[in-house]
Point group: D2
Chain length 345, copies 4
């Protein structure tokens, strides 16, 4: 039973069906196909505003290409110190921006502390030739800690961006889980709150490999086509990327899958909280649960076949991610085992 990540799961059946359906006949390559041409429209409906949308295959590509449109090589991009772009992308943002500096900011529960951001922006870098030029802030929604920014929290950061001539990027590898968790509209959580570019994730949410870079300010995307090709991210048989994204939007599949994953996480968190000696570290607002479990208990659970990531060096905090296809039975089985092992001490 595997709670290590959402990407240990395969694809939802609807996604495989979409690939099969897209496989008939010939189609123009490199995005000039029927599926790809629908994307702008479909996402514009979803977000209730005109968008320019570009499919890519990985979240790192989505983030790094988006940031490449926002920051020059002499720019600075501000992000949470635990964010994927700072820690887990092997310098892809630096690569695609031509060498921008990622400024790592602190903040509780995975969210950038607005005061820390304000302090960082108050150093007097803007316009001074010695310093990297503030170009963008990137926030993660849902965060690496399984929490979410409320629309107001997003807007507060966006306000700082505007005041400093910067753009706001949202890494939405788990955007669906955030929308499901907050029960707000995609628009409210993005452009209405001041987000300029969104990495809209589908892979973790049940696709094979598909992400959409969604620009709410079309002019920011002017160089995207060339940057994507230069990055090796232009798919010749693009229809297979676009078909995955369209399938996700079809009949709200993306939200249905995310709600399911979130519900499992809530059940898991509730169950863990009910077990003596175990606890949950941060609010569970998406599909991740960070649980405090004594090392011996965690060890025995692993020995029984339950898989989950250790999260801190001390080893008592563990991450449980509920992928879209975790079942109620799996949750129940884990909780039974956890209760037994916790009782055994």
């Amino acid at each position: 039973m595997d709670f290590r990540s959402d990407n240990i799961s395969g694809a939802a059946p609807e996604i495989l069906a979409a690939l099969a359906a897209a496989n008939g006949g010939t189609a123009s390559a490199y995005g000039d196909d029927d599926w790809s041409r629908e994307l702008d429209g479909a996402f514009s409906v979803l977000f209730d505003t005109e968008c320019r949308v570009f499919p890519v295959a990985t979240g790192t590509a989505a983030n790094a290409l988006a940031l490449g449109c926002l920051s020059p090589g002499h720019g600075a991009v501000f992000a949470h110190q635990d964010s994927h772009i700072v820690v887990d992308e092997c310098n892809a943002p630096e690569f695609f921006t031509g060498g921008a500096k990622l400024v790592a900011l602190p903040g509780a529960a995975g969210k950038i502390d607005a005061a820390a951001l304000e302090a960082a922006l108050g150093q007097g870098w803007l316009g001074v030739q010695h310093h990297p030029q503030p170009a963008a802030v990137s926030i993660t929604q849902a965060t690496e800690s399984g929490t979410v920014y409320s629309p107001d929290e997003v807007a507060a950061i966006a306000h700082l961006c505007r005041a400093n001539g910067m753009h706001l990027h949202m890494d939405g590898a788990r955007f669906a889980n955030a929308v499901a968790g907050l029960n707000v509209s995609p628009a409210a959580l993005t452009w209405k709150a001041g987000v300029d570019v969104l990495s809209f994730g589908a892979t973790k949410n049940g696709a094979i490999a598909a992400e959409a870079v969604v620009f709410f300010k079309p002019a920011l995307a002017d160089s995207f086509l060339f940057r994507r090709k230069r990055g090796g991210h232009l798919f010749s048989k693009m229809r297979f990327l676009s078909a995955q994204l369209l399938a996700m939007l079809q009949d709200g599949l993306w939200l249905r899958l995310a709600r399911q994953a979130n519900a499992r996480a809530q059940a898991l968190a509730d169950g863990i909280r009910a077990i003596d000696g175990l606890s949950v570290a941060w609010p569970v607002q998406a599909n991740e649960v960070f649980a405090q479990i004594p090392p011996t208990v965690a060890g025995r659970l692993r020995a029984r076949g339950f898989r989950f990531h250790p999260w801190n060096p001390e080893g008592s905090l563990h991450r449980f991610v509920c992928a879209f296809d975790r079942s109620e039975d799996e949750i129940a089985a884990f909780l039974r085992a956890a209760a037994e092992e916790a009782a055994a001490g």
Copy 2:
């Protein structure tokens, strides 16, 4: 009826079946799955030598990442002036090498002229601080003109590489078609002839999106993992890339598809040559035919629904690519129409 490229076709049924088969259960992400772990072994068998193999999703990524392992930013990479890396990758090789210079070389029928390469290497750049340092040669197999390098021609270029401390890369987006066309072993056409790194293409040959970067000198690959991640080319659900590649190698599917495509091209070329007023420009050695067709004839063929790429500005040379799934009926239908229109003058 569509002869514009091989990537206007979808995927072979075996590929879709492989995706479906790979979709069961959870698997470790980022390449630590059963499918991905088989790749080194499977390619080592295919090439009859120990290889290190890395799946990526696009040919541009394969080429650019491979060249990034071969050339520093102050290096020079020599390639044919019509090659994909020079003309069609929007500076991806420059990007992934950190700014290496691509030196464009002439040569008939898409193949680097060995004398031109020798002259370029004779300029005295090596070790001189003013000049980019010769680092690699990249050849395309089969070429953009639908021709192939014989093993001896590859070896002659490899000899120049060795003599100048350079490495040899082969862009094998249509490697299968070249092997099928030459009827030699994969080994004979690569490492035995002096190739260090191969971009082994599967996408054009019937995959959805899968290429393998194959290192015949394992040490050259030491930084590949980091370069791939930094480029945003590490797939979280890697099993779906690897499963495509394994399906290609399974029971020789890759060669069967390529032979079929090549056979169609031969039939197409034979038929064109037999039509008065039409001719074929270069030897047809893979799955592409470059045909001289009078503009009026070409125009009427297009009006009848046949699709093919104009290849030169003057407009009398046209490219026909036979994808893996072009049928004998399609070839016959085109030839009938061409004969009719050519006769009409």
Copy 3:
């Protein structure tokens, strides 16, 4: 007696005097000093238009930083195949543009053939995601062959730039020699003919190390300060760079030195042409002479202590550069020796 290059000479006495004069007292660092603040004005007078001017210390820095303002990483920069930026800057233009492609164009006597440029621009790259985007043309004035573009020739290339949305850069490492050779105004040879950015060279013309990047369209310079610092080219004691440039402009020193160098080259060329068996390859329009000299004669001249660069692999073409401080006696001495050796056969 040394004709190898202009940079084998030291500095003009006026330059050393200017350094000494600038050495009194303290001054704000990094360009906020009295000397540096005068530059914009002084160059605006010289060029009879408003300029933004940035001092750097090397010609490669001037060129590469200028091109970095003109081309993105997915851009293409067109230049002569023998130009310094293509051949002699170890990929600095690629580095500072973030990986732009330098497209090498042919052309007689070191000058870009306008038809070749037009053909290159006619390939249909503009706006097409597969190809590098035409961004700039760079011409060298005077060229590597010691010839010059007339204002009309510059304008013809500028016209192609405008028609294709590109900018025009002029590498003026020997701009002074070109102005002196053509006897036109600096304005006529630059912005009035369509040049957007000029690398104004002083080092070869008698400075220690000083070049000015001159922007005729101020908006193009908006990121220059940051690019210069990021490139490590911002001098803390900037006054010493600026003082060299101001000394060059003072009382027309730059033109006086260049006229002197050009006059020596003319005398040298005239003398060589008068010697049986020797000849001059290209028009001598600046301070360089390319002479055909039989290998045995060249060898004996070298043995007698005359120094000059072999220019082609065959060894019969040789470059003679007259630095600002070559004397009439040196020219006469060389010509006497050359006549003797040529007569000796």
Copy 4:
């Protein structure tokens, strides 16, 4: 009276004399001159070990080119959060490394806290494809806070580098002041303590513009020539750079100037400490004094013509740098004024 920085001063007379002396006759360009050829030897004597030495003109160039030899684009470079490379070089290190990540570490008085470094290295990045690969640590000697690392402190950091397969760079823009302050040998403070590459500063110490990149492990320098040229940092008239460096080493000028500057700083600090209401923030170990001065007092001192940098946003900490040519009279004059103004309250 100007205490803003060391680079507000001009050049020592010995430096100007060296330039004048180097100006006679012609010399091979680009480093193949008599002065440049002496550098390796002269520095090898100074450091009592074989060095490879490369002159450049700015400290940022020295640091960034050195780090470019130590870290690939997918690498991580660890440095103090207030260091010049992190804060004041507008992403030059990112640029020259091809996009490495600079990891900013805390530490009192400008020195990296060894425990913080150890913790950062304990995150498990090494060999894991998701993370930037630990490549180098860079320490500043003397630090931005005017303090110095003792040889033992350097060795402790070098030990962590060795244990993690990393190299150690020292930014020695004020290396002379550190050596003078510690009264140890240059060898003891560098390679004997584990430093691999040193940016040896001369500009702040009385040169016009000259720094030396000193490699104690010659193999690390193998690509330096090409990187320097690619960065636009190869001077054609190199003799003028090299002559400055040789003049600095001649008869110990570099140490004499640094000792003088340090003595002034000590006198300044002693005087400030003796004034009621004023204090000194960090140990004064080089040529900088950071003084706590009430805002009103500081304001009145500025109004009287004394210049010094505010150091913190609150405005009570101020930086005084004693350049090589600050005089005893200037120190005395400032201290008299400060005493008067402090007494006035």
